[in-house]
Symmetry: C2
C-alpha cells in the first residue's frame, strides 16, 4: 500500500474536464428588495420566492429560518447556497454579501487502508488542496473481513463509524486554513468500497460477508453531513458513489466512470488490485465484473521481507547479467524490505534473466534470491525473495488471470477482443507497467492503450460532486454492471490452477514478452 | 374564552367530506421478493424500487436504513409509510406485516389560550378522539403581546417553545391509548395564529409587533416532528397552515378554507372575534382582510364582574318586563360572574327593553343593572353590568363595525352586497346569535345565511392533513388575501367613533332588530 501522501497526489494527472458543471450545491447571489408597507411578505417567503425565480422549487429547513431573518434584516444583497435533494433544491446556507465565488466541496476517497480528502473549488471543479492519512479503523482490523468482524462486537459498529468520521474530520481540519472554516464547506462526495460505506453510515456490514451477500444499501442517495457526523455545513449534501453489491463498490464505479470505458465501442478491461482485486470488462453495450481476494503478496503481507510502500521499501529492481542487481528505495532510505512494486520487478527480472522458469520455479537447489545484500540493508541482513514469496505473487497473478478468463467466457469474448486496459488504485499507479506485463498480471497491449487511472476513486468522487450527469451515469453504471460470483463458479478453480505460468499458459497472448525473452536469450 | 374541553367538541358539527383523500402521509403495503443469488439487490434499494413502482420517486433517510435491513430480513410482507416532501415522497416508517389500516395523524389547533389536538384516522379522515387544555404558555404571558415580550427575555423564546411542545406532547399522550403509541402517529397539521406558529417553531416573534410587521415566515412548508420536538414519529411531516402576515394567521386561513367562501360568487363576511378580531370579506374573485385588538370585553377582562367561560359564569340572560331577569350559568353552578356571551345578551336585552338608548347609555341616574341578585350569587354580592362594562363592549362592537366599513370602502362594496356570514372560533360558537345581531356585532342577514364554523382552526387543520388540494388552496388563499392595515388607515378612527350606536348608526341595515324594537314598543 502506498503511503497516504503519495496516494493523495495521484488525482492531479487525470482531472477530466467535466464540461457543463452541475454540482451538488449551487451558490446564488440575490438582491432582496426591502420590505415595505405594501410588500410585507415574510423574510423566509421573500427569500424563497427570489430563489425560486432563479433555480425553481426550493424548500427551507427550519434550522435556517432564524438565520434568514437575521441576514435579511441587515442586508439586501445575500448569497444563498442550495443543495440538490431528490427532486428539487433545499436551502442550506445564507450569507450576507456576495460570496458566490467562495464555494467549497470535498471529494473523498475512503480506502480500507488509506483515506484521501480533496478540497474542491466548486465554482470551477479544481482541486485546491489535498490531505491523506491512514484510515483510523486500521487498528480495529487490518482488512475488510476483520472490520466486519469488529462491527459484530458490542459497540463495535459505532466505534468504527466514529473512527472513520474522526479521520475525515481531522483531514478536513487540515485542509481548512483561515479564513476558510469547515462549516463553510457545502458538499461532499465519497468513493469507497461497500464495506467502508456501510461503516461510514453506521450500517451493519454483517450481511456483506454472508451468503447471499446482500448489502443494506447500494445507493444511499443524497444524505447530509449531520446524518454522518462530518463537521462541515450540517446540511451539506453527502453523496456516496453507488455500489453494484457487496464486492463491487462505489470506488470501482468511480474508476469505471473516470475511465469512460462505458462510452466506447471497443472492449476495455479495468483492474484494481490491492488486498482484494476487482475486474470490470465491457463497453458501451455491456459491462461485467468480478472480485475476489488477490492475496497479500502486493501488500507486502506474508512475504519474507515484504513491507508496505513506506520509506526504506525497495520499490524498483532491475537485474542485468553484467551489472547485477540495481534497486531503489522509497525516500532513498536504507533498505528495510520489499514492497509490492519491487516484488513484481523482481519476479519479472528473474524470469527474463532465466533465473526462474515459466512455472516460476528457481533452478534446482536455489531457494532464494538476494535483492539487497546484508552490507547495504538497514538491518544488516540480506533482503531476499524466496520461492514462497514468488508462489504468493503467482497466486495473485493466477487469480487475476482466472477471473479474466471467467469473465471472457461469460460474455463469449476472446482475449484478443480487449483493446484497452485501465489500472486503477495506488497499485495501478505504482506497479511497474513492463514488469506487470512480463509476469502476466497485466495484458500485453499496445502501451498507448494502457492507462493508469491513479486515484480514480477520488477523481470519480470529484466528478460526481461537480456533475449531475456524472451522478446519473454512476447510478446507471451500478445498475448495469453484471456481477459474476467467482466462489461459486465451477470453472474458476480449474482456470486458477492452470494459470500459474509466466507470463501465461498461452505465451502468444504476450507478444512483447515473448520478443523480450527471445532478445535476452540471444544476448546470453 | 370557552373552557378547553368545550372547545374540543366543536369540530364534530362541521367535518366536511373531503372527496378524494390525498393525505400528508400514505401507507403502502408491499410484498418484497426475497433476495436470491441472481437478484442480490441491497435491502434498501429493493424496498425503494418496490415503493417507487407504486408511488413514484422516494428518498430513504439514513435513520431508517438499519430498520429496513432488519424488517426485510424477517418479512416479505411489509407496510411502508411515506411522507409527501417538497416534490416527492420520503420513507418515514417501515413495519412488518399489513398495517395499512392503522394510519394515524393529528389535527392541532393552537390558540393563544387553548390548545386542542384531534387524533385522525388517516385512512378515512375521521376524528377518532380529541383532547384539549390551556396553552401552557399562558402563565408566561396572557396575550400575544405579552408572549412576544417574554420571548425577548434571555432564554424566553426557548422556554415558550418548550412549553407549547410540552402541552402538545401531554395532549398527544392522552390521545394514545394502548396499543397506539405516539411514535406510530405519522403526520400532524397545525392551525394557529402567526405568533403561536413562530413560538412553536422557535422563531423570534419580535418583528411581528414592530413596524413594518414582517414575520420570519408565513409559509413554513412541511417540517418534521423532530424539528419541533413533537414526540410522534420523528420523521412525521408537520404542516402549519400558512399565514397572510403578522395579524392574519393560519387559524384564519383554516376558517376561510372551512367556510369555502372563496368558492362562491356571492360576497361573504368571515369574523373571528376574541381578544383580537380578524375579519375576512370576499368571494371567489377577491378577498380582503383586516385585524385588530377587539378589546377585552368578550374575554371577561376588565369588566366589573367579567370572567372567562368557566363554571359559574352567567352565559345566557333574558329580560322581560313581566317575568324579570332570567339567566343560566355554565355547569349550573352558583353565579360567580358574567362571560362574554352573557354580556352580549345583557346589552341586547337592555336595549330591546329600552333600559339603554341607541347610544347604549342608561337612563339618567341609573349606573348599573343587576343581573344576579346577591342572594343567588356565589359571593353573596350583586353581579352587575355597569355603564363602563357596556362602554367596553360597545368599543369592541364599534371596532368590528369600523373595520368592516374600511373593508367595504376599500373594495367599493356596500353592506347590502354581503350575502353570507361566518362566525369562527369559540366566541363564534357560543355567542348568542340574535343578541349579537341586536347589538350590531353581527350583520342582520337571513338566519339561513349565517353559519357558525365552530373550531374552524382545528377543522381546517384536519382538512389540510387529509388533502393536498386543500393544502394548495390554503397556500393560494394566504397569497391571495389582501391585508388592510387599520392602524395607519386615516378613516378608521372616524368610523370607529361614529359606529357606537345600537345596532348601527344606520338602523335600516338591521331590519329584524328594527322590527323587534317596534314590536316590543307596541307591547309596552
Amino acid at each position: 500500500m502506498s503511503n497516504p501522501e503519495q496516494a493523495s497526489i495521484l488525482c492531479e494527472q487525470i482531472q477530466a474536464d467535466l464540461g457543463d458543471l452541475d454540482p451538488l450545491t449551487r451558490k446564488v447571489l440575490l438582491q432582496l428588495p426591502p420590505p415595505t408597507p405594501t410588500d410585507n411578505r415574510a423574510d423566509v417567503d421573500r427569500l424563497r420566492l427570489a430563489l425560486e425565480h432563479q433555480v425553481g422549487p426550493v424548500t427551507v429547513p427550519l434550522a435556517l429560518m432564524s438565520q434568514i431573518h437575521q441576514v435579511c434584516s441587515v442586508c439586501g444583497r445575500v448569497t444563498a447556497t442550495v443543495s440538490m435533494t431528490g427532486w428539487g433544491w433545499q436551502l442550506i446556507d445564507l450569507e450576507p454579501g456576495d460570496t458566490a465565488q467562495e464555494h467549497y466541496g470535498l471529494a473523498i476517497d475512503i480506502g480500507t487502508t488509506t483515506v484521501v480528502v480533496y478540497l474542491i473549488d466548486m465554482s470551477c471543479g479544481a482541486v485546491l488542496r489535498r490531505a491523506a492519512d491512514f484510515n483510523g479503523q486500521v487498528p480495529l482490523g487490518e482488512d475488510i473481513l476483520s472490520r466486519i468482524r469488529h462491527a459484530a462486537n458490542p459497540g463495535g459498529l459505532a466505534e468504527l463509524q466514529k473512527t472513520i468520521c474522526d479521520t475525515l474530520n481531522r483531514l478536513i481540519g487540515r485542509l481548512c486554513t483561515p479564513p476558510l472554516v469547515p462549516t463553510r464547506i457545502s458538499a461532499a462526495s465519497i468513493g469507497a468500497n461497500t464495506t467502508m460505506v456501510h461503516l461510514l453510515l453506521g450500517l451493519d456490514p454483517a450481511s456483506l460477508s454472508r451468503s447471499p451477500y446482500i448489502p443494506v444499501v447500494n445507493n444511499p442517495g443524497i444524505l447530509t453531513a449531520q446524518d454522518i457526523g462530518l463537521h462541515i455545513n450540517p446540511l451539506a449534501p453527502v453523496y456516496c458513489l453507488p455500489s453494484v453489491g457487496s464486492f463491487i463498490g462505489g470506488d470501482i464505479i468511480a474508476g469505471v466512470l473516470v475511465s469512460e470505458m462505458d462510452h466506447r465501442e471497443e472492449i476495455s478491461l479495468f483492474v484494481d488490485i490491492g488486498t482484494n482485486g476487482e475486474i470490470v470488462m465491457g463497453n458501451r453495450e455491456w459491462l461485467v465484473a468480478c472480485a475476489g481476494a488477490a492475496g497479500p503478496a502486493l501488500e507486502g503481507g506474508v512475504t519474507t521481507h515484504g513491507m508496505r510502500a513506506e520509506p526504506g521499501a525497495v520499490d524498483r529492481v532491475s537485474l542485468d547479467p553484467v551489472t547485477g542487481v540495481r534497486y531503489s528505495t522509497i525516500g532513498n532510505a536504507p533498505a528495510r524490505g520489499i514492497c509490492g512494486s519491487g516484488l513484481v520487478d523482481v519476479l519479472a527480472e528473474l524470469f527474463l534473466n532465466g533465473l526462474i522458469d515459466r512455472a516460476a520455479r528457481f533452478s534446482a537447489g536455489q531457494r532464494y534470491f538476494v535483492v539487497v545484500p546484508a552490507a547495504e540493508s538497514a538491518s544488516g541482513q540480506d533482503i531476499v525473495v524466496t520461492q514462497a514469496d514468488i508462489d504468493n505473487l503467482m497466486a495473485t497473478k493466477g487469480a487475476v488471470n482466472a477471473a479474466l478468463e471467467v469473465l471472457l467466457e461469460s460474455v463469449g469474448c476472446n482475449w484478443q477482443d480487449i483493446r484497452r486496459f485501465y489500472a486503477a488504485g495506488a497499485f495501478g499507479q505504482y506497479l511497474p507497467l513492463e514488469s506487470a506485463i512480463t509476469i502476466g498480471l497485466y495484458p500485453d497491449l499496445p502501451r498507448s492503450a494502457m492507462v493508469r487511472l491513479g486515484n480514480s476513486s477520488g477523481e470519480g468522487a470529484r466528478q460526481v460532486l461537480m456533475s449531475q450527469s456524472k451522478r446519473r451515469e454512476a447510478e446507471a453504471l451500478a445498475a448495469r454492471i453484471t456481477y459474476f460470483e467467482l466462489n461459486t463458479n465451477p470453472t474458476f478453480m480449474d482456470k486458477f490452477k492452470s494459470s500459474k505460468f509466466l507470463p501465461h499458459t498461452d505465451i502468444d497472448r504476450y507478444p512483447s514478452v515473448k520478443a523480450r525473452l527471445q532478445a535476452r536469450r540471444r544476448r546470453l
